[in-house]
Assembly symmetry: D2
Homo-oligomer: 397 residues x 4
């Protein structure tokens, strides 16, 4: 099909041309004396992205799933108890992983479309007098439903309960796009991947561990080797890796971090908020509802849109794909067929999103959903113009 594909799944996201270009590298000896000039600053600059000064960053040749396994196996011992909330496909997968890796998971089932409930966590932790629970996991952004949770509040809940459990946070679809503050929020293990806010292809997972997490790893007896913290720590100290790292991704990461630094991390976060606002304005103009139940759950990186009863979201997605050269995210599990998702994270701007909104409009119209053509676009345009005006006024003041 002619023209550029409109990629609006919530990851992998569009790789900027600068990053694509930066990855066209000849191979080199990853044990050369020069190699650390590339790698050492990567670890430093990633700490800024996690907003941590105390944390230690790990880079694994793996998908984000690998970083979750690294977080669990390095810090927990067989049979350890984990407290986890489930309210979407990805929160479900981490629970499944924890169980398969041999941990006992206490699951807090939450309604899909809502997120982490700190008050429930606090209550359970308070009741856990003997500190059987070693880990609390929270998903900063549930990609399946477009729900963001308040991680700072989870930390407060743990602290309020006076509980020593480590806090594990899935930042796969939030890092470098939603506001995330590892140190301030006391996140012990922040897990992410390369193919979302970091604007790279998949293949590199990123994990930042607090000193408390590192300390836990010295005692944890889960079997591990590929993802072992200690092997990495030893090799990384001088800028090397225990095995051959994926060079193009490291060079791409170098450029992606430069782009983020040029725009400014807080500006990047503000841009995601502004762009997301346009999408939500469009949804409202269409007379539809986001899967996220309340504004407090709204995610700035992905919006899951509920199609009206009697329609199948799968038809919207396949029409968009086949007729308009656009990829939308599908509903998964509980919400399969009920929602389609617009990913709005990474290297995006207003016109790209307006193109996507207009495509979603046409695809919905084509399958018979009664939306007025142009209505969503107009609402988003109004949002963007107002946001621009506000930004200008603020600058002037």
């Amino acid at each position: 099909m002619a023209g550029r594909h409109f990629l609006f799944v919530p990851g992998p996201t569009n790789v900027p041309d600068r990053v694509l270009r930066a990855m066209v590298v000849p191979m080199e000896d990853h044990r050369s004396p020069k190699f650390p000039e590339l790698t050492l600053p990567l670890f430093q600059d990633l700490k800024k992205i996690f907003k941590t000064t105390d944390g230690q960053v790990f880079l694994y040749p793996s998908s984000g799933t690998g970083a979750w396994e690294a977080a669990f196996t390095n810090t927990l011992s067989p049979g350890d108890k984990v407290l986890a909330s489930r309210f979407g496909q990805f929160t479900h997968l981490w629970i499944d992983m924890a169980q398969r890796l041999g941990f006992e998971v206490q699951v807090l089932e939450e309604e899909w479309g809502t997120g982490v409930k700190p008050e429930k966590i606090e209550e359970i932790l308070r009741a856990d007098k003997s500190h059987q629970i070693k880990a609390v996991t929270a998903c900063h952004n549930e990609t399946a439903t477009g729900v963001a949770s308040d991680i700072g509040a989870v930390r407060k809940a743990i602290d309020a309960a006076g509980h020593p459990a480590l806090l594990y946070v899935d930042t796969v679809s939030s890092l470098a796009s939603l506001d995330f503050r590892q140190d301030e929020w006391g996140v012990d293990l922040a897990i992410s991947g390369s193919q979302k806010g970091l604007m790279l292809p998949a293949g590199l997972s990123v994990l930042s561990a607090s000193p408390k997490a590192i300390a836990a790893s010295k005692k944890a007896t889960s079997k591990r080797c590929y993802f072992d913290f200690e092997d990495m720590t030893k090799a990384n100290a001088t800028g090397y890796f225990p095995y051959t790292p994926p060079l193009p991704l490291l060079y791409g990461l170098r450029e992606a971090l430069k782009i983020l630094s040029e725009e400014g991390l807080d500006n990047v976060i503000a841009r995601h908020h502004r762009l997301a606002g346009g999408v939500r304005a469009a949804v409202k103009a269409w007379g539809l509802q986001p899967c996220a139940k309340e504004p407090k759950w709204y995610s700035d990186t992905v919006t899951a849109i509920v199609v009206p009863p009697g329609y199948n979201a799968v038809d919207v997605i396949s029409t968009a794909y086949n007729r308009y050269n656009m990829s939308l995210g599908a509903g998964l599990s509980q919400v399969a067929g009920k929602v389609f998702r617009i990913g709005h994270l990474g290297d995006l701007n207003e016109l790209m999103l307006l193109g996507a909104i207009s495509g979603a409009e046409m695809a919905m119209a084509d399958v018979g959903i009664p939306v007025e053509l142009g209505s969503g676009v107009a609402a988003a345009q109004a949002h963007y113009r107002a946001a621009n005006a506000a930004a200008k006024a603020e600058k002037a003041a």
Copy 2:
């Protein structure tokens, strides 16, 4: 600025990723025994793009302007008379070139927003009993005003006048996007460049000469060397060039021709017509006028849009550039400040154009032009959906 730039000038056009990739080539000896395997098919495949079987294609390392110089200097002698119509900046430039190269140009001044008037040409040629006029030049698509002319009618006019003048046609912004038929329309010199419908960067000009033009080149005495047909003909015969050719562009051309062939040239042309229709529907919905005076002049590759009195099109363009990361074409010369242009040629699809239309809408609104947000988008969407439906109906029938 974040996200992909929206490039909506009428050239250079977006280079497809496949082509970009194909140009990443190591250098090689352009006199190697293998080199013709690359080059010889290029000439053959370009003939299909010009719809010629008799023509001879030339590829110059130059911009399209160079191919115009090649056309003139290879086929005309100093002082030869040229009949040319002027109705935009590019028709103006070719006249200026012809004059500077030492030819006498009889200029037909036409209103900007209109195009070639075959009946006038016929009249003048009929009057030229002694055949002083050696060349008739016509611009298939005047990029400055968004005006397409009927080249077949020009040929008929020349024939009706029984005149032997050669027909030179500027296809810079029409080749591989508007319907062009060199053989059927008796075009003697068709001139184009790489950076428009051929979806390549600039740097390669393309010219197709009829046997009559080649015959003329044997007698023409204008001085020439770099652009000389004969040097090229001799070297090209075996797949070589008289000087070092730009390898990445040749490899890119290989891929671009493959893409055109996969979509099918006539489908490419139909796609340009469909996409242009959406832009025109948007203009109408905005309550504005295209620079092209009548539907018969409407170009399917670029639309120049007249801003209402009291507004400066330059403001629309700079707002679009600075605020929405989009490049629009400026008005040139007579229409400077009065029009902005949306290029809609090359590797484009519906959603890209809807993004651009929404951007133009916002930029116009921002500078105070009273357009209803979403109105142009809605009109274009309706056009695209109707076109899709029609195409489906036709397929089914």
Copy 3:
């Protein structure tokens, strides 16, 4: 430093320009209906590289080390006994991994510079009447010492002992460069990575499992999730992955497999043999010895060269790097400082190797090792010319 770096470590190897180019891809939805068109043939074509028809290929986003972990954890249960030979840094690492993952390893210590001794394995297996040993691991090519082992003989030894142990083979630095025959040799788990014979950057590991290995994975109770066979099998069946795969590497793999198929796998293997012969001729001409003790251990993908007593191989390597823009492999562990290694696998030809040999010559001369300049080159040239002549004679016959 000017000019192309001479990369002669035994991996990562040079990525051919075609592959580099093929990896410049925009992101796409890895759950799109088209995605399997890319992925399904990859699995099929990789089976040809492993010379298996019954095997099942797994592709992990990880380094080769990850594939080893996958092999162990999917097929063994905690406490299972593994029989492994150690004769170099990489055989050592796999033993270390097996131990850390909770298996009991019976180590056969072999002299570095030699390889797997099938007769010892047979003896031990015969003695293991109760079939405590579940796994026999063998390294096809020990990268640290430049030693290739006879894997077919290992299979025969296991069969001769009538023992049901699975055979695990490290083919990291042998796949697609040394002759490897999974089915014929009864290899149950063949482990490899992308950055050697497959001519890709690191980041993708490749594993081929026999039906017997797959059967074992159904019963093995080692904890695993990221590397789990079953998750992969389910998703791969329709061309998908359980998590986001590294798209550029998959596209690069597509092109690399095409290149291998164009040259022909057996021709690729013969080329590696021919090129390695030149390096060995050079070593002999220098009056030096390879680390591999006897011709039967000589590796066709890497040669470790012992420097004379009183010299430090590290100096040769750093001189080559700093003065001649060439990366050589260092000696590791037992042979640190005693050998330098020339990797000769992947996308290489005679002149590249002659450049490398001349560089090694100069670097050795610079640090005072008494080698005659040009002597190694001349010996390698003679080898290559003779091999060429032989090939021609064979073709003519």
Copy 4:
């Protein structure tokens, strides 16, 4: 064929990976407000490469041949007299061009293998009392024979004769590789291309004109348009071009100039001298002669090597190409079949050249020329090691 092709023709030269990467750019509006940020520094930095402060640099989308046409047509009028020396294929071509463009050429025929004879030029200019001769052309480096001429001496000869003729110098295969000093040597028109010392693909010609040349262009009446100085001057003043420029080449030029600046222009020139010395040492060791008759004519960018009587250089070249994946330059015209050429300019280092020398050795041996294998390599190695030692000693002092 496997492995990297050895490109040892004297242009196009190897494009460094950094430059290749820098050319992977999306298209953009070449009339945008940002565009001059790219272009204006290019002109400034190129002046440093020409070693001029007064000169004006022109960049044409064309091959180097186009820049020659630009030099002639912008500064000469029909019938003007040109004094030109001929001693190779490229000096021949410029004479042919001058004649075809309508100038009267007084040819100084020099023996091939020698170069410009300033004393003859001085004599002729002294005799030209009425200053009929308007232009003296000189080729800094005749690529066909590997002959460098003393351009400073030509200037002195012109001055000694008190003659006002402009000095035109072909620096196509010398710029950014041989020592060239436009201002000091009083060069009025220095002509070059992108695909040699500038390490880019072909497609961009580069010309630097002295104020005297610019003044001449105001009066010269040769017809010109595409290559017109004035159009370029007007547009370039603000960083634009009169027609669409080849964006990838401009971005590549940006990176190439950065590379040259990082190494330092004088270091680049010294490197070319050092590398050429190795090639000449090899030729001597083979018992052969360069085409250049005396050391003072030796070129540091290309060596033409005379094969012994009874052998055809074409066989050497085709053997190198077909058997060893290497491109050598062919003998042209008078020296066709008699010489093969090794280009040694651009992005090269010692090991690349040693690989090439070893390949030439094998190819010669294969066709029966009695050269001792390894002899040329050994001589070049000795040269490089001595040059290194000298450089080190100098640094230490």
